[in-house]
């Protein structure tokens, strides 16, 4: 096993701390890791490294590291562009180039970014991938996305078809199918493209690192069972999941990051502190919520503020499980490396059927003693969104807790209407309060608002 060949970013201090934004130390470290990965991508060509792109759900980072690829995550690129207010133009450029206004804005932001000279979110070059590993997990749009990139830029695509858990479980033949693809199509293709021979012991070593990070991540996410919760399991969690869901799972940096984060959070629990928000420590915890659906990225901080200003903390979210369901016990297993990668892909949140998603949310409401469910329905993402109104009804019926529904988008600023979202949230918090005080609430606002 040659650890010398592993691409490890060294801290550069690139994540500068603006005076007016409060973050935990681990959040700054996370930002630095993400920036480092962009630097690696920018310098990949001069360092004669091949570049891969793959998606967050079913992200086979450990496998890609076995072939020394610099690793790009297109959804992360899009969301980073969204947070930096760059995605709106990219989306409109892609629409002018023939993409429909109806389809996923991650795809359009990515296409727009490439059309705009292949410059990444940090302003550094974003080289054209040598391989698109199409880990087709939980989202049909992924398939078209990489076909589009391939069609325009000629990048080779390698398909990994991950069957859907239609029956709410992983059947042995599903796992076998994924393993067989890894052995017979994916690994040979990655060997050919990278020129690096596959070493299963190297993979095992990465998976050993993954397990350590996974243990710590679960501890951090489950710390929200405390009162007050020391973390926000949605807005804060998107920082926490960054390294493990992207290019760092399996690296010692990730292990170190999650150990640091865990120590920080343990300390907050010991001190009885709530989450750190961009405006500093959150005040009194008034509402404990579960959130289903991805966040809006273009107005991320404004969106979060609408919660913490009202004393609402998200104690758990389904989005924080989109790149792996570790809190229900899954760990990568170095003794069964390929089987374990297959089970990881098969178990990602959007690969679960609707009844399983309802079960999971109900379990969260119970275990995290939440006051209710909020669904942030994303226009771009049918994988999450189709069926959410039934999820809402079912969860309300089963838990007796109030649920509410808002609509935004991932990275299209045209679909975030702050006033509408704020109004809806305020009435929801009122409803939760009413329910808590009188044991019943006004009917849940199930009619979607249209945030145009």
């Amino acid at each position: 096993m040659n650890m010398q060949t592993i691409a490890m970013p060294a801290p550069t201090g690139s994540a500068k701390k603006p005076q007016n934004v409060q973050k935990e130390d681990a959040m700054w470290l996370q930002k630095e890791l993400i920036n480092q990965n962009y630097l690696e991508l920018a310098t990949a060509r001069e360092n004669r490294r091949k570049v891969s792109a793959t998606f967050v759900p079913g992200n086979l980072n450990e496998l890609l590291m076995c072939f020394d690829f610099a690793r790009s995550l297109p959804e992360t690129n899009a969301l980073q562009n969204g947070m930096r207010k760059k995605s709106g133009k990219m989306i409109m450029d892609a629409e002018r180039d023939g993409q429909s206004e109806d389809v996923c804005t991650y795809v359009k932001a990515d296409l727009g970014m490439m059309m705009g000279g292949e410059i990444g979110p940090t302003g550094a070059p974003m080289p054209r991938p040598d391989v698109l590993l199409l880990s087709y997990t939980g989202c049909f749009t992924f398939m078209k996305w990489f076909e589009l990139i391939r069609h325009k830029y000629g990048c080779e695509t390698v398909m990994l078809h991950v069957p859907y858990q239609g029956e709410g479980r992983i059947a042995p033949n599903m796992r076998d199918y994924v393993v067989k693809q890894l052995k017979e199509t994916v690994i040979p293709a990655l060997e050919r493209i990278s020129g690096v021979k596959f070493d299963i012991d190297r993979l095992r070593q990465y998976l050993r690192e993954s397990v350590k990070a996974e243990e710590d991540l679960v501890r951090v996410l489950q710390s929200a069972k405390n009162r007050p919760s020391p973390i926000d399991g949605y807005f804060g969690a998107v920082y926490y999941i960054g390294p493990i869901f992207t290019a760092f799972r399996g690296t010692p940096q990730a292990t170190q990051y999650y150990a640091t984060l865990r120590a920080e959070i343990d300390e907050r629990v010991r001190l009885g502190k709530g989450p750190v928000t961009p405006d500093g420590d959150m005040g009194e915890e008034k509402y404990r919520l579960i959130v289903e659906g991805p966040p809006n990225w273009t107005s991320f901080r404004d969106f979060w503020k609408m919660f913490y200003d009202e004393g609402a903390v998200v104690v758990s979210s389904t989005y924080a499980k989109v790149g792996g369901l570790y809190d229900f016990g899954f760990r990568h297993d170095p003794e069964r490396p390929l089987e374990s990668l297959a089970e990881y892909c098969l178990g990602c949140y959007t690969n679960l059927n609707l009844p399983s998603r309802v079960d999971m949310i109900c379990k969260y409401i119970d275990e995290y003693q939440a006051d209710g469910l909020l669904i942030n329905s994303i226009k771009s993402c049918n994988s999450f969104s189709a069926g959410q109104l039934l999820i809402l009804r079912e969860v309300e019926k089963r838990t007796g807790k109030p649920a509410a529904f808002i609509e935004t988008d991932l990275v299209d600023p045209r679909y975030f209407s702050a006033a509408n979202v704020k109004n809806r949230l305020e009435s929801y918090f009122q409803m939760v309060k009413q329910k808590r005080t009188y044991g019943h609430a006004a009917p849940a606002p199930v009619i979607p608002i249209h945030a145009h």
Binding site: E147, E184, S383, S385
Partner: protein
């Protein structure tokens, strides 16, 4: 005075239209009532191996939403405004009891919306058999093929349990033969329409295909052959229309009026992707071997192409569409996709690019299954036809 009898072709089309308009699925109910123990299994677009259902002695029933004939009330409460219409009208059909005659539903892997609808069906209709049908995106026999055979075996076992006895290979092979015959008849129908589109308008061909969604396959095959014979008996005027292929309508169906509008605007539709289940397997499946193996090989190596199916290489993109254009002698392509249809709308720019590279004219619009206003469609299709017939010739 005795009225003049209707020509046979009109009579056949009227029968198909009645079946098309019957959203209470009376034909299915009648079929079930004719013999005790009969069951019907619904399926959604694009493709399921209907042979499995037929081999169990059951009736496969194509479910294609509510079209423009039902008012969706309950279904709308389950979906956001930015989700296509077919799942909401399908839910409406279910919640209003119109699908009570079905004993199960198969949801093929086509997109995230239909995939999630399978889970909704599990929650809303707990007493019904529901199965998500995952089809392979890996086309190697030993990899995707083995998985697909296992998936088909699962359905075969489920249906065998439902009827009380396992489905035999002989039964499956007999069903493959029956569907081969149906596919052959439909190939003849499509070839006839391409050769003489004025004799077999697409508004009629479409209705014939729709009849195949509710009729037993043997009856449907005969109906198609009767139509072909009857169409030839009536001479209809030939016009100087533009020959077009329609692409993108493989799931949520366009209203019949939309198809008629395209034709009225001066287009002969010479190929399309409506109801692809009838033409998914491109030629006969051997009916004397291991049936699941043969169905799998046919899917992997001899099946149609559509946006829900992965193209393993860049070079394959658009090949199927170009073949439709070339072999049918089409002069242009109309992309007609449902609003919010991710697969069709994401596929479209790639196909448009391929067509442009080959100098094939194309135009595009969106529809919903309940689109009522046809004037814009007529105008756009008419301008497109004019651009082909008049301006290109100049």
């Amino acid at each position: 005075m005795m009225s003049k009898p209707l020509p046979e072709v009109t009579r056949i089309v009227q029968r198909c239209e009645a079946l098309f308009e019957d959203l209470d699925f009376e034909a299915v109910k009648q079929w079930k009532a004719a013999e005790p123990g009969r069951k019907a299994i619904g399926y959604m677009p694009v493709y399921v191996p209907r042979e499995l259902v037929h081999a169990a002695g059951y009736l496969p029933v194509g479910i294609l939403g509510g079209g423009d004939q039902i008012e969706v009330i309950q279904g709308d409460a389950y979906y956001q405004s930015y989700i296509c219409r077919i799942p909401r009208s399908t839910i409406e059909l279910g919640l209003t009891g119109r699908l009570d005659c079905l004993d199960g539903m198969l949801f093929p892997s086509i997109c995230d919306v239909i995939r999630n609808l399978s889970g909704m069906w599990q929650m809303l209709f707990k007493d019904k058999y529901v199965r998500y049908v995952d089809v392979p995106q890996n086309y190697q026999d030993e990899v995707g093929g083995v998985f697909y055979q296992q998936e088909m075996q699962h359905i075969r076992d489920d249906l065998g349990r439902m009827r009380g006895t396992p489905i035999t290979d002989a039964e499956l092979n007999a069903s493959i033969a029956v569907y081969n015959d149906n596919r052959q008849a439909i190939r003849e129908l499509y070839a006839y329409r391409a050769a003489k589109p004025w004799q077999a308008p697409t508004s009629e061909v479409y209705l014939l295909l729709r009849a195949g969604m509710v009729l037993p396959v043997e009856q449907h095959t005969q109906l198609v052959r009767d139509y072909l014979a009857a169409a030839e008996q009536v001479s209809r005027p030939k016009r100087d229309n533009a020959r077009v292929v329609i692409n993108g309508s493989f799931c949520e169906q366009p209203p019949l009026a939309l198809i008629k509008s395209i034709e009225m605007a001066g287009c002969y539709v010479v190929d399309d992707d409506f109801l692809l289940v009838t033409r998914w397997l491109l030629d006969d499946v051997p009916a004397d071997g291991n049936p699941l193996l043969e169905l799998s090989k046919a899917f992997l190596h001899r099946s149609a192409s559509t946006a829900a199916k992965y193209d393993a290489t860049r070079e394959e993109k658009g090949v199927f569409l170009m073949k439709q254009v070339k072999t049918r002698g089409a002069e242009g392509v109309i992309f007609a996709a449902p609003s919010f249809c991710d697969p069709a709308l994401l596929e479209r720019p790639m196909l448009q690019d391929v067509l442009s590279q080959h100098g094939i004219p194309h135009t595009a619009f969106k529809y919903a299954e309940n689109t009522g206003q046809m004037a814009p469609v007529r105008e756009q299709a008419g301008t497109f036809a004019d651009s082909i017939k008049l301006w290109n010739a100049a």
